[in-house]
Symmetry: C2
Subunit: 157 residues, 2 copies
DNA sequence: ATCAATGCAAATCCTTTGCAATCGC
DNA sequence: GCGATTGCAAAGGATTTGCATTGAT
C-alpha cells in the first residue's frame, strides 16, 4: 500500500488546532501530525501503519504506539472513524461527513464509499422486527472492478 | 461466554463422516469432534476458543492450533462460515442454510440471524452503479434488546 | 507405504500497555 | 508545577506455522 504526503498549508494547522480544542483535547505535535496526514493523503482510508509510514522521518518519527493512542482518542471524539474493511487491521478515515458504507475490490483493494437510505430504513425495520433498537451498523460489499484497467492490483489501496 | 455440550447421537457421526467424505476431507477425530461440537452446542456461533473449551477434556483434548486448522478447512469447503461479529475474534457457525446476516445486542451479545432480499437486491444495484460486480457482502447490525429481561448481560452469547 | 493431519511451541500480526521522561497549559 | 502525553519496549490476544510424530487410506 503506497501512500504519499502532500504539502499541508498552515491554514490546515489552524483548522486542526481548532478541531482539537473543540473536543477538549490538548494540542500536541503527534495529534496535529496524525490529522495532517489523514487530511493530506490521497486515499481516505489508512491503517495505523500507513500513517506511521507517512509520518516516518529519521530522527523525528512518531511511535506507532502513539499513533494508535491518537487514533483511538480521535475515534472517541468522532473526528475519525474506524472500520474493518475485510483485512485484519483497522482502517481509519477522517470523518468528513456523515455515515457511509464501503465497497472494496477484492483484487485491487479499491475502496468506494456509498450511502443508501433505502437500505438504512430497511435495517431499522429489521432490527425492530427482531425486538431490537438499532444503534449502528456495518456493511461491507466485496466485489470486483468491472473496468479491468482501473483495477491495477495493489495500486488502489 | 458459556457453552455446553449436549449428547451427540451416533446418527450424527454418520452424517458427519458423510459430510467430510463429500468434500474429500479425510475422516479424522479432530474434524469429527469439531463438527459435533458445532452441531450440538446451543448457540450457533462460536469462536475457536469456545470450541476448544467444549472439547477440552483432560488427557484427550484437541490443540487450539488444530481447531483453527480444521475450521479453516471447513470454511474453505463451505461447511462452516466465519464472520466478524464486532469483537476481535472470528465467530464460526455450521452452514445449515444459505447466506444470512446478523444483528447483535451490544449489551448481552445475543445474535439474531436474518436475511433480507430487498437489501440484497439493492446491494447489487449499488455495486453495479459503482462499476463493480458484487461477490459477497457482510452486514452487521448492532443494537440493543428492547425486552430488558431477555437481555441478560453476557448470558446470551 | 505414503502423504496428510496433528500436537506443541514458537512465531506472527495487530494493538494495547507500563513506566520513565517530556510536554501542554 | 501538575497531570496528561509520549517513546520505547514489552505484553497481549488471536491466529498461523514449523517440525517431528502420528494417523488415514
Amino acid at each position: 500500500m503506497i501512500v504519499t504526503q502532500n504539502n499541508v498549508e498552515t491554514d490546515d494547522n489552524e483548522y486542526i488546532t481548532e478541531l482539537l480544542r473543540k473536543v477538549k483535547l490538548k494540542i500536541t505535535a503527534p495529534r496535529i501530525k496524525v490529522i495532517q496526514a489523514m487530511l493530506s493523503m490521497k486515499q481516505k482510508h489508512a491503517t495505523a501503519a500507513d500513517i506511521h509510514n507517512i509520518l516516518f522521518k529519521p530522527n523525528e518519527s512518531l511511535s506507532l504506539g502513539t499513533i494508535y493512542r491518537v487514533l483511538n482518542l480521535l475515534s472517541e471524539k468522532k473526528i475519525v472513524n474506524r472500520h474493518r474493511l475485510g483485512t485484519d487491521s483497522y482502517f481509519y478515515e477522517f470523518n468528513r461527513d456523515s455515515h457511509h458504507d464501503h465497497i472494496v475490490c477484492l483484487e485491487c483493494g479499491k475502496i468506494v464509499e456509498f450511502k443508501d437510505t433505502v437500505i438504512e430504513e430497511r435495517q431499522n425495520e429489521i432490527a425492530n422486527k427482531h425486538g431490537m433498537k438499532l444503534r449502528k451498523h456495518t456493511m461491507l460489499l466485496i466485489g470486483k472492478c468491472q473496468d479491468q484497467s482501473a483495477c491495477e492490483k495493489g495500486e488502489n489501496i
